[in-house]
């Protein structure tokens, strides 16, 4: 059942590469992604809430001497992210406004990204995870290098170097875990790191932290992000920020928090500080930007920092908040990048000093501006929207463990409002210059993805239970495990 989420887009990518009619490629890609989304929603429907372990498990022996097996499973941690992955793929497809060159290749790569991320999220074998984790880099690299902006060559190489290094570090950590713990097995459930010395565990966890920290990214490993996000096309940015970055936080929770509970407790104060620095740095850097896409990119660094603080706190509530924040951030960031993409396509610029008066009802982009205000409010954590729910759970859950970092994060959420007010004030309000404002109309097909995201952001803001109920059993189980480890250490 889980394989379908990898097979559907992979087969879809092959069909797209061979499909003769170019004008139907977009629709066809959207249909394949929609099927993927429907399937993941079906899995959601039949998901057993009382079972916090892997469900829909599949096992296929692959290269046993290496410890590699095709082992998949879905739990409350990966299920919401799988749905987010399928949803954002559709959004990304519809955020490609105009006709693009080599679209057959483009759409096939989008589907391969979808398959790669789904595979990584479901992999319950560490080597299989690394394979999927690395595989999706290739389509991302190609999409940035071929369809990116002016400095796409630089951005794509930087992205590739950083994320390849991330993969190498993660692989090194996994090899260390499997071989140093003595059993040579890479299956997640079979791994036990308790036999490792504290020093070894610290080294391995550090490798994982740096590896996944690049992907998140955390300050100071973030320098690839602004260049990549700015140079990538809106569709790629949605996938990069919306879901790829989540693989980093997913990896931290699944493999860092899950496999090294005792060491995690040891380094958690440091992680909370790094998270807080990311939050503050992201917010302050966003305030200083003149390019709205770069501003949103830095805002992403800040919001991903909340997740690290919450994971570092390691309480039931904070871990729940961390996963909720991953979903919330994915949705809001996708909306922001989609809207920024529309503005860039229509106005031909992302420069805050040039954009003005987009709210103008006749020649501006009034609906896009209104949606941008909504997205800004969601990102700033205004009550009634999903951003508030996720941040509130994160803050409430983390405060107990790390009061000062949490307070600094709360202050930083105020800074989010500052840079969004700057963004909205300069772009949406003021006077539209009639010498520049010959913007084309925003098409319904461009508006629809934004409507869908806004509807979900509102709905989950009012009905947060719909988001948290799937996550809670798994995160509670993980926290229970860590508590048990602490107890055992205390007894020893």
């Amino acid at each position: 059942m889980a394989t379908a989420l990898i097979l559907l887009p992979t087969i879809g990518a092959i069909i797209i590469s061979l499909y003769p009619q170019e004008n139907q490629l977009k629709t066809l890609t959207a249909i394949i992604s929609a099927l993927s989304l429907i399937w993941s929603l079906y899995l959601l429907k039949i998901f057993n809430l009382s079972d916090p372990t892997f469900q829909f498990t599949e096992y296929l022996s692959w290269a046993e001497p290496l410890g590699l097996s095709y082992s998949l499973g879905i739990d409350g941690l990966s299920l919401p992210l799988l749905i987010l992955n399928s949803l954002l793929t559709i959004i990304a497809i519809y955020s490609i406004g105009e006709k693009i060159e080599r679209q057959r290749f483009y759409y096939a790569l989008i589907l391969l990204i979808n398959a790669g991320i789904a595979g990584a999220l479901m992999a319950s074998n560490l080597l299989l995870f690394v394979i999927f984790y690395e595989i999706e880099l290739i389509p991302f690299y190609l999409m940035i290098a071929i369809w990116g902006g002016e400095k796409r060559g630089y951005a794509s190489i930087k992205f590739l170097l950083y994320t390849a290094l991330s993969g190498i570090l993660v692989l090194a950590a996994f090899l260390g875990i499997a071989f140093l713990s003595g059993n040579g097995n890479f299956d997640y459930d079979a791994i036990n790191t308790s036999s490792l010395s504290a020093q070894t565990k610290l080294i391995l966890l550090t490798l994982l932290l740096v590896g996944f920290g690049i992907k998140v990214p955390l300050v100071p490993l973030h320098t690839w992000l602004p260049d990549t996000y700015v140079e990538a096309s809106p569709a790629v940015t949605i996938l990069l920020g919306g879901i790829l970055a989540k693989l980093g936080t997913y990896g931290l929770i699944r493999f860092g928090f899950g496999l090294f509970p005792d060491t995690w407790a040891l380094i958690s104060p440091g992680l909370a500080i790094i998270g807080t620095i990311s939050v503050l740095y992201g917010a302050l850097a966003a305030i200083a930007q003149k390019d709205i896409k770069r501003m949103v990119a830095y805002s992403s660094i800040g919001h991903m920092g909340y997740i690290l603080v919450a994971v570092a706190a390691g309480t039931e509530l904070s871990l729940l908040g961390a996963v909720a924040q991953m979903i919330s951030h994915g949705l809001i960031l996708a909306l922001l990048f989609h809207l920024v993409g529309i503005i860039e396509r229509k106005a031909g610029t992302r420069d805050l000093d040039v954009l003005n008066g987009l709210m103008n009802p006749v020649r501006g982009l009034p609906l896009t501006s209104a949606l941008l205000i909504g997205a800004g409010m969601a990102s700033a954590g205004i009550p009634g929207l999903v951003g508030f729910i996720a941040e509130f759970i994160v803050f409430q859950g983390s405060f107990e463990a790390f009061p000062i970092p949490t307070l600094l994060c709360i202050i930083s959420s105020g800074l989010t409002a500052v840079y969004f007010v700057i963004l909205l004030n300069r772009t949406c309000f003021g006077k539209l210059d009639n010498k520049l404002a010959y913007y084309p109309k925003v098409l319904l097909s461009e508006k629809l993805p934004a409507f869908a995201l806004v509807a979900i952001i509102f709905y989950l803001g009012i009905q947060p239970n719909l988001l948290t109920r799937w996550i809670e059993p798994t995160t509670n189980k993980m926290v229970a495990q860590i508590t048990q480890t602490y107890s055992e250490i205390a007894l020893k």
Partner: protein, 429 residues
Amino acid sequence: MTQLLTKLPPSTHEFADIIHRLEAGGSMLPDTPENLMQIIGIYKAYAVPMDFYWRDLLYIAERVFLEPLPFFKYFLPQEYLDLQNHYAGDNADLRIWRGTGSTHPELLEFMKKGETFSAPKLFHHLFHDRINMEFAEACMSAMYWHGRDMGMGKFDAYLDSDEYKTNADRAIRAYFKENPVMLGLYKAFPEMFLEQVRQLSYYSNLGLFWEVMAPVFFEMSDIYDEGGFKGVPDAMNFLVNGIFAIAGRPIYHHVYIDGECYEIIPKSKGFTWLYEAALPYVEAVFYRTSPFRGTKSYNAQAKQVPEEQKDFHFGILYADVFPVGTAGIPPTLLMDDMLHFLPPYLIEYYQKHCRGEDDILIQLGITFQRSMYNVTSAVIQALRTALLYPLDDQNPKHLLKNRQFFEQQMDRFKRPEARLRDIQKPEYR
């Protein structure tokens, strides 16, 4: 050889190209078929609501007069709908338009049905599904307010004369003869009533001005439809000729109370159309006006509104036609009014550009701006004809005087907000 000797060296003015064009008998608006089509199309769309404006302005000046609660001043009685234009129809004093002298048929049809559906007049009025007289009144206010300051002609000065006060006093007393309360108020605050009458004199002034302009524009539209105009200068010259043909039309203010006519400004005072209406109108409305609320946010404290009235440059020649919000602001209301009567070729043209029908109000507003640059060009050429020398004069000193006059006129468009630079480009829409 003579031509070479008499030819002036090229102008070094910022708008040298435009000055050379004016010297060659052209307009400030470039001579292109697209510009011609746009300005003629908009003249026609402007003329239809203008047919309502002039009738209603005269109705208010002559009949509504000092009505304390003039709720129905925009509801034209049949008498004023049937009123024969003096420059159109079979009984015209000077027939400019070959069409009917009574209300234009398209206007009558619109007044009956509105844009949406047939409903009682009051509903059309409340839903603004009507001709927006507020625009006409804003123009009148601009003329009245700036008229006090411009020192142009003799009309405004006459409003302060004893003769005018005596005439107004007679009319006020006759109007309120059965209303002791209003008479008492008049006794207590005579200036307040007098000020109202002065304003009503400007209603009449503008009504009489537009009574001429409506048939001029209708005729231009008909000539264009018949293939008569070959370029923008032809259209401008038609206006110049029209200006001279009707320059002497009297400007007056009569009030009708109980069937008796009270001549507040008698025709015999000799106020004429060109000097007392057309020129003050162009100065007050095309150049100056006032910062309309809604078109742009002006901050008087930040000196964004000039202290001196003569420095006001908010007219259509400078206007930013982008409406902010959907407030019923005067320029937007004119665009709404013109929208109802656009000729099919102009609608088709707008549909092909920018956002098509979605931003048609902006597109037609900019066309209106182009057309008013052409009207202003006609006024500049008419003034040059009246005050200076022919364009083909052989005397270099005369040509230099003409050059200086044109340069002086163009100096007013050096301001950054002037749209003269913009209208030179076809992509300004």
